[in-house]
């Protein structure tokens, strides 16, 4: 746990620091992708890295996502630790075969003789007024794929520590960066040492557990502050694997749960949360786990996205509908 900075930094800056520190700490680390070199990335997350570490370690690739991930796999087979960027969520889809058929499977295929310490950074989510294909939330595709770790930070300091941990992890990590939080600041120090697979209770509460991740964490905290019941807010951070212990302990205490995300509800990440929390906490639940999510539609155009995105009203509304009046007292509750 080495503290690094305590003045407020944005998430974009925290990620930039994480990459810089990883490049400085381990010369097997490479950073590449579209516009990550000279330009410093369209979100400036790689700003200054090419100048500092040189074209050989931080560079622009041709415009080909399968090529970026496929060559990263080959580099990892030869002992390097590539950190690649998919410029926007929807533009990771061309790399889908390389990710699902190789990145996720090569370690298992070789019985662990080949590790694939590759990090695929994907800016994701909406709320930034992006035109079509620039606001997707594709975490469910990857979280459903065994062999991948899927991680997403909700704060700048987590962005730093989780990205450092992802780069040090021997497993491939899909690292989802919530675009609309790139400019969010916090002042907690940038430290290493956060495990890659644990959720965190962001706010303690006793009546209901509100489960969020990435872009919806601030929305969840706002809702908790505005609610007239006591809301515990959990930031999952790790989508795969899922931290059953932290989440179920909370739900068993509160007896109610709401999960929030931007992606469509149908087979969205909240489906797994609802299913597994219910499996493990059934007799503690006073109401079904509620899902507050994007609708089952293609991501809307910028002027309509406000209707699609989970907001405080919809979260409070879901909390209110958790059958507070007709509480069922269960024998073993």
């Amino acid at each position: 746990m080495t503290a690094i900075a305590a003045e407020p930094v944005t998430m974009a800056r925290a990620l930039n620091r994480a990459l810089a520190d990883a490049l400085a700490a381990d010369d097997r680390v490479l950073v590449f992708g579209e516009d990550v070199g000279t330009l410093g990335g369209v979100f400036r997350v790689t700003d200054g890295l090419a100048a500092r570490f040189g074209e050989a370690r931080v560079f622009d690739t041709p415009l080909a996502e399968a090529g970026i991930v496929g060559t990263a796999i080959g580099m990892a087979m030869n002992g390097l630790r590539p950190v690649v960027e998919m410029q926007f969520d929807a533009f990771a889809y061309p790399a889908f075969e390389q990710i699902t058929s190789h990145l996720a499977k090569l370690h298992n295929r070789t019985r662990g003789r080949m590790e694939l310490p590759v990090v695929v950074r994907i800016p994701y989510g909406g709320g930034i007024g992006g035109v079509e294909h620039h606001s997707d939330s594709s975490e469910a595709y990857f979280a459903h794929t065994p062999g991948l770790r899927v991680v997403t930070p909700g704060t700048p300091s987590d962005a730093y520590s989780l990205l450092r941990a992802a780069i040090e992890c021997p497993d491939p990590v899909i690292f989802f960066e919530p675009k609309r939080l790139y400019w969010a600041k916090d002042a907690s120090p940038l430290t290493t040492g956060t495990p890659l697979d644990t959720a965190v209770v962001r706010r303690a509460g006793s009546d209901v557990t509100l489960i969020a991740y990435g872009p919806t964490v601030p929305t969840a905290l706002e809702s908790a502050a505005a609610a007239d019941v006591s809301v515990e807010v959990i930031d999952l951070r790790s989508l795969a694997p899922f931290d059953d212990a932290t989440v179920c302990a909370s739900v068993r205490r509160t007896g109610r749960a709401v999960v929030v995300h931007e992606a469509p509800a149908f087979l969205g990440y909240g489906a797994e949360v609802a299913a597994r929390v219910t499996e493990q906490c059934f007799h503690y639940l006073h109401a079904p786990v509620a899902r507050v999510t994007g609708f089952d539609i293609p991501y809307p155009p910028p002027m309509l996205e406000e209707h699609h995105l989970p907001n405080v009203d919809r979260i409070l509304d879901a909390i209110e509908r958790l059958q507070w009046d007709d509480t069922v007292v269960l024998p073993d509750a």
Partner: protein
């Protein structure tokens, strides 16, 4: 909007493109000796639409500053490709544009406000693709090349006299889809023309980091696709090459790959800072090869264009821009219910329930 006819231009159809870009008009607007230029009426029409197109482009950039557009990718400097290629299309032909090609849409006759819906953000598409045979502007790079090949193949199967013209950027040529599209097109001898607008950059990434080939036109060779390398700032050349490729496709001679060398004068979009990756001198050197000036000089020298005619065209462009500005200053009517209506031909019960939450 059908195009003015010209004598069929037959260019040589080789696998290996010429080493130097073909030209009909020099940078200073003189006819290249021995070149067979399109006739004056065609070029005057192209000139007029280029002037209107550039004015539209400037207006669109201005609209981003007023917050009326979410973002705008300018094609300033690429008007020869945007307009002359479209001018060579017949009414029944189809255009497959990218996000960069708003000016091409306007040249094709798509309403400018409908053209800008995508970038304003009231919907992903503002126009009816069938109205002018213009596919939705495509953002996932190179994916539109396959759609163009499929539509062209379907046209051939149905016995239609239709050719598909697809625009691709230099960067997009690196995507696997471009490879698959060229291969399918060649095998099917599909009536499709690939126009690569090589404007030197993919956002910040220069061509030198995109390809190590002698030219992008060389990419046709590996598929057996006839390739041409042309000066993309020469409106006469772009028109002639495109028309020749379209006619060859119509005649059943199969696809053509055209690399048009041009330049993106503005940043990638209004949100981009091009000073981070290219020099002012480079931009200036390309301003000296401006496609509109070039055609202006040529047409003036032939006194097809005089002060009066030029003034009338500028006036038309100003009126076009003014009406666009006014119409864009009105807030679009937004319909959240539409989000649920078109996901499927008939909304599912679940979508009707979800729609109710939003529209109640």
């Amino acid at each position: 909007m059908s195009t003015v006819a010209t004598p069929r231009q037959k260019l040589s159809r080789n696998l290996l493109p010429d080493a130097e870009p073909l030209q009909l008009l020099t940078a200073s607007g003189e006819a290249v000796p021995g070149g067979h230029l399109p006739d004056d009426r065609v070029l005057l029409d192209v000139y007029r639409r280029m002037v209107i197109g550039r004015r539209f482009d400037a207006q669109a950039t201005a609209l981003t500053k007023q917050g009326r557009l979410a973002v705008y990718p300018s094609s300033h400097g690429q008007e020869a490709c945007e307009v002359a290629a479209v001018a060579a299309l017949q009414a029944q032909d189809w255009l497959f544009p990218t996000y960069r090609d708003c000016v091409a849409l306007v040249a094709r006759g798509v309403d400018p406000v409908e053209t800008l819906s995508l970038l304003r953000g009231d919907w992903h598409l503002g126009y009816d693709p069938h109205a002018h045979h213009v596919a939705p502007q495509c953002t996932p790079l190179a994916t539109n090349t396959l759609h163009a090949v499929g539509l062209a193949r379907a046209a051939a199967i149905k016995g239609e006299d239709t050719v598909a013209l697809v625009f691709v950027g230099d960067g997009a040529t690196s995507e696997g889809d471009t490879h698959e599209a060229l291969n399918f097109a060649a095998l099917w001898r599909a009536p499709v023309v690939f126009l690569v607008q090589n404007n030197g950059y993919a956002i910040s990434v220069p061509l030198s980091k995109q390809s190590a080939a002698p030219s992008l036109a060389h990419k046709g060779v590996g598929y057996g696709v006839t390739s041409m390398l042309i000066d993309g700032n020469d409106p006469a050349m772009v028109y002639t090459a495109t028309q020749s490729a379209l006619e060859a496709a119509r005649a059943g001679e199969g696809p053509t790959l055209i690399e048009a060398r041009t330049y993106r004068i503005e940043a990638h979009t209004n949100a981009d800072d091009a000073t981070r990756y290219r020099s002012e001198d480079e931009v200036l050197s390309w301003l000296a090869r401006d496609p509109i000036d070039r055609l202006d000089r040529y047409l003036s020298a032939r006194s097809v264009l005089d002060t009066g005619a030029r003034a009338r065209i500028v006036e038309e462009a100003e009126a076009f821009a003014a009406s666009l500005r006014d119409r864009m200053n009105a807030d679009p009517t937004l319909d959240p219910a539409a989000l649920f209506q078109h996901v499927y031909a008939t909304p599912t019960p679940a979508l009707r329930r979800q729609a109710a939450k939003v529209t109640q």
